[in-house]
Symmetry: C2
Subunit: 376 residues, 2 copies
């Protein structure tokens, strides 16, 4: 495993970091947000629009791709990049979260996890080893280990059990990773996942144990599952406090603009979340001046650009009035423009955070911006 | 009214024509196909994608825009171009066809047509004059007169009555057009519509009478409503035989690739149809090698580009296998790629027809290409 991360600067008044990820010839400045492309497409977006906004690292879901189109097809196409015609980087999750959240039935054993497909009820069995192998087939640039996710709230005993299982599985994952090679001529990297629920001592134990394996990066998992935001921030802080400076830190499944800013402040480098895409499709627009519910009748006559604070043709040149009309008539372009705006905003958010970290003004900027996103 | 059309060449062995439409500073080579943008958006397409393909003239529906967002809003935005942020040309239909095809209730009088909205059952009344005024508000580059469309089959008496009404309405339309001015600083042009059903003598009468008004162009209406294709071709031929060479000819609501080729051969310059967009969203893909039903399981493993015969990034670089997967998972990108391909194909079809007309090879090319589109 190589070193894929270079730390450029850490803020003096907080733990915010600016860095660069080097992945298969692509440089990805951090902090970074990764749009979610569940089935090999970021919903409602052309690939060229993602590139236009500046996204060079997107997420794919192993669980979903395993079910549809199925790995046989992805293998036939020699990996997910070829299958979906995406030239830049892809991170795939392990399926651990989906098995935890989408299944009515799942059975955990030491060996792995048995579950039924949410699509057709068919039975499947994932092991740490099989999930590494699936991600070899997918050929993602960054793969994640299979973990045991716990619901919130959960008893200490259940969280401890899940953590221990996750640690054993991490060891088996990295073993399998070392025994296998990339299939499609693209280097692959592997991240470990820190579990431990909302118990500080378990998070500490998780970090300590995971650091024994030399992962290419470390993810913080099992958060944003219903716990209070302050708890999420506290757990994140406990992890980043102990994670090594020279490895990227990825907070999984987070979150709102506020969440991103708070966790960048606490030393996180990478984020993914369905929020900007899913909420965009529901008419919630994130802009540099705050959140907008585009279905609101008050935008009927609005000639205001979607977001005059962003420098792209869509945010600048389409109006709120037109976007509302598109939602009102159930036009697909409405979903596309809203998603475009939200992803452009998230890109602006992390890119500006990076600039401000480099210029030493991150906290000042963050504390001001966050006022636009206080829930009314 | 100015002369917006220049005839460049007419084929020697048929009536196919190559020309140029000059509309508000935009040159539009003919034959041309106009994508349908019912509610101020061509469904599932970014405007930038339309421009990328080469479309500079799209269609809007007066009836639909009148109902949603409503003309009050379009007026507030100073016309449809501004409202939808479209810089090139727009043709709007008159609503005659929608009133005819979408209404459970309509009441024709000499004065106009009363109908109930297909959305909420509210009552509305269109007159030839009001429809011109609506299109002044829309600010379309080309407006159409209100006509009385007849179902197929229809008795001679009913078709004659509708034709006579259409002629009287045409006179009133052009009167109103002359009495009014564009509202938004963009020149507007007006086309008459030739009715007459499937009765040759009524079509002849319609052309003769319509030519008494000096319209900027002439549309052939009331076809593609269920009559046999041969009848449509015959009626088209009767009209183009008598229409003046120096005015553009627009066959409304047509059609399949075969229909376009056959009617270009018969001297038509302009077409519009929902077929490439609607059928695209249903998984029917038009390509230079023929039609494809992308849901067919045989494309599961297909690494073939969507259309290697077209020179754009989407047709060349995305595979049939990926497109099928997108339809299989109900992904919006599937609708977008299919629509993009179909519109790129239609653009290729009319552009290539034009080239072949100019080089004298139209009929030879057409007779070969059409074999790809024979229904199995």
């Amino acid at each position: 495993m190589g070193n894929i991360f270079k730390l450029e600067k850490e803020a003096e008044d907080c733990k915010a970091r600016a860095g660069i990820l080097y992945i298969n010839g692509t440089e990805i400045p951090t902090p970074i947000f990764m749009p979610v492309g569940t089935y090999g497409t970021v919903k409602a977006m052309l690939h060229s629009s993602l590139i236009e906004i500046g996204y060079k690292l997107i997420l794919g879901n192993t669980y979903h791709l395993y079910l549809r189109p199925g790995l046989e097809i992805i293998e036939h196409f020699q990996g997910l990049h070829n299958f979906m015609n995406w030239k830049y980087s892809i991170l795939t999750d392990s399926g651990g979260f989906q098995v935890f959240s989408l299944q009515s039935f799942r059975k955990l054993t030491e060996e792995g996890v048995e579950f039924v497909s949410h699509l057709d009820g068919s039975k499947h069995f994932f092991t740490p080893e099989s999930v590494v192998q699936y991600q070899r087939v997918l050929g993602s640039d960054i793969m994640m280990v299979l973990d045991d996710c716990v619901e919130y709230p959960a008893e200490y005993g259940r969280v401890l059990e899940a953590l221990e299982r996750t640690l054993i599985w991490a060891k088996r994952s990295i073993q399998k990773f070392k025994e296998t090679e990339p299939l499609w001529g693209r280097e692959q990297y592997i991240f470990g996942i820190i579990q431990g629920g909302t118990y500080p001592e378990l998070r500490l134990k998780a970090v300590e144990e995971m650091l024994k394996f030399d992962f290419d990066g470390y993810a913080i998992g099992g958060l944003s599952v219903g716990e209070p935001e302050e708890t999420m921030y506290e757990m994140t802080n406990i992890c980043t406090e102990r994670l090594p400076a020279d490895k990227p830190r990825y907070l999984m499944g987070v979150g709102t603009p506020q969440n991103l800013l708070e966790c960048i402040e606490r030393g996180v480098d990478m984020f993914d979340c369905v929020l900007p895409t899913r909420n965009g499709r529901n008419g919630q627009i994130f802009t540099t001046r705050g959140k907008i519910n585009i279905r609101n009748a008050k935008y009927k006559f609005s000639k205001e650009p979607i977001d005059p604070g962003l420098d792209n043709e869509i945010s600048k040149n389409f109006t709120l009035g037109y976007l509302r009309h598109l939602f009102n008539t159930d036009e697909i372009l409405g979903l596309t423009l809203a998603t475009y705006q939200n992803l452009a905003f998230y890109k602006w958010l992390v890119s500006t955070a990076r600039e401000k970290i480099l210029s030493g003004l991150f906290r000042y900027w963050k504390n001001n911006l966050i006022l636009n996103f206080v829930d009314e």
